[in-house]
Amino acid sequence: MASEARLPARLSAQLSLQRGQKELGFTLEVGLEFEPGLSVLFGPSGSGKTTILTAIAGLLAPARGRITLGDEVLFDTQTGVDLAPNQRRVALVFQSLALFPHLDALGNVAYGVPGRVRKAERSELAHAWLTRMRVPHLARRYPSSFSGGEAQRVALARALASEPRALLLDEPFSALDRSLVNELGSELSAHVDSLALPVVLVTHDRKLARELGREVTLVRAGRVECVGPAGEVLPDHD
């Protein structure tokens, strides 16, 4: 598989969005640091988590801020840098997954394979990702026929096939039942550790956040409340 000799980069984002921008009910003002590996961005619904991911991916411009990935500046209001989403190499998996309904699983995954890959190798590469995500049998099927877990796996395969330098996951397992959440959660952990890139998982699922056992950034009403190990930031109330 093609890979670049590049050190894993840390993802850093200082964002500020005004109240009212993107239907926010508050001013969003956060400074976030994500080391390579899996990090959890935790917060109640409506705390601005999705907005943060959308801004990092470049689909929404903050009023002020600076986003860097390693030594590359993706966005900086002071120097006027604002890389287009397709130049950032930050893959975002939406909560709705946003699989292309007119393409089969293979077509979806091949969509993000970088342009420098030769045509003949694209579908091979896409197939390899479907296999890694344990859904090679879906290759010729369309998203409308996928189960929740299958769609999740295809969406993840698609994001990773684009060779991102950072991966953002918005409430990835929200529509699945508990046993599947645990299964996919531990699979994801294993994948992420082999990939060496910052992966930010947004959730308001306390149990999932604790089970993943990674560093948790707690966001509430557009502010970072605290950062630390899951056990400390999210004490078990049960």
Binding site: A84, A91, F100, G115
Partner: protein
């Protein structure tokens, strides 16, 4: 019965619909962008042919493209013949009639595409143009196709704009609609009836086709 006007109608309408489709989808794509200055003004200008009298439209086109106008003179210098009162004029007349139907349908279809799909395409490395061509366009193809079919039916049946801009020249600009008018004026009732029935049949076929198209499940890929 002389079939030439029918054939001419088909030729003119086909070329006009092709031109109007490219132009209409391009305009719709611009109008569907998140921030466009004067969006509703542009939309109103494109839609105007649906409500303005054909004579008004035809008059504007005569002024714009006539032999005295800069565009008309430039065209004449290049091709050796005028746009107005020629087959080209008939094509432009039919195109103006078809354009609002196509661009309206295309705009509605493009605006109904889930923006998250476009966003996903962008974060996967697609340029705005590639995202449009590979995601927005295929996902709105049904709506666009319905508009194109309506546009074709409209182009096929144009009378007023064609008469103003292209006249009524046998074999050149005398399309089926104009031939019916001629037949009635010269008392050839049989010809008028036959042509009218054929035109009605064509229009009904298109409308039934559009109806079937919009009834199909949107997710039936």
């Amino acid at each position: 019965m002389d079939l030439e006007p029918l054939l001419l109608s088909f030729q003119v309408a086909t070329v006009a619909t092709l031109l109007a489709s490219v132009l209409g989808v391009a305009i719709a794509a611009v109008l569907a962008l998140p921030r466009v200055w004067g969006r509703e003004l542009i939309d109103a200008l494109i839609t105007a042919p649906m409500v303005l009298p054909p004579t008004v439209l035809g008059y504007y086109l005569l002024v714009l493209l006539g032999r005295e106008s800069p565009i008309g003179q430039a065209f004449e210098r290049v091709t050796g013949g005028p746009i107005v009162f020629s087959r080209g004029g008939a094509v432009i007349a039919a195109m103006v009639g078809a354009l609002p139907l196509i661009s309206k349908a295309a705009r509605a279809a493009l605006e109904s595409v889930d923006l998250r799909l476009v966003g996903a395409a962008r974060t996967l490395g697609a340029s705005p143009l590639r995202a449009f061509l590979t995601v927005s366009l295929p996902l709105s193809r049904r709506g666009i196709l319905a508009g194109v079919m309506l546009g074709f039916a409209r182009a096929l049946g144009d009378f007023g704009i064609t008469l103003m801009v292209a006249g009524n020249i046998p074999g050149q600009t005398r399309t089926a609609s104009l031939a019916i008018y001629d037949a009635v004026l010269s008392g050839r009732d049989g010809d008028a009836t036959r042509l009218s029935l054929i035109m009605t049949g064509l229009a009904m076929s298109v409308l039934i086709g559009v109806g079937l198209l919009s009834k199909q499940r949107q997710d039936g890929f």
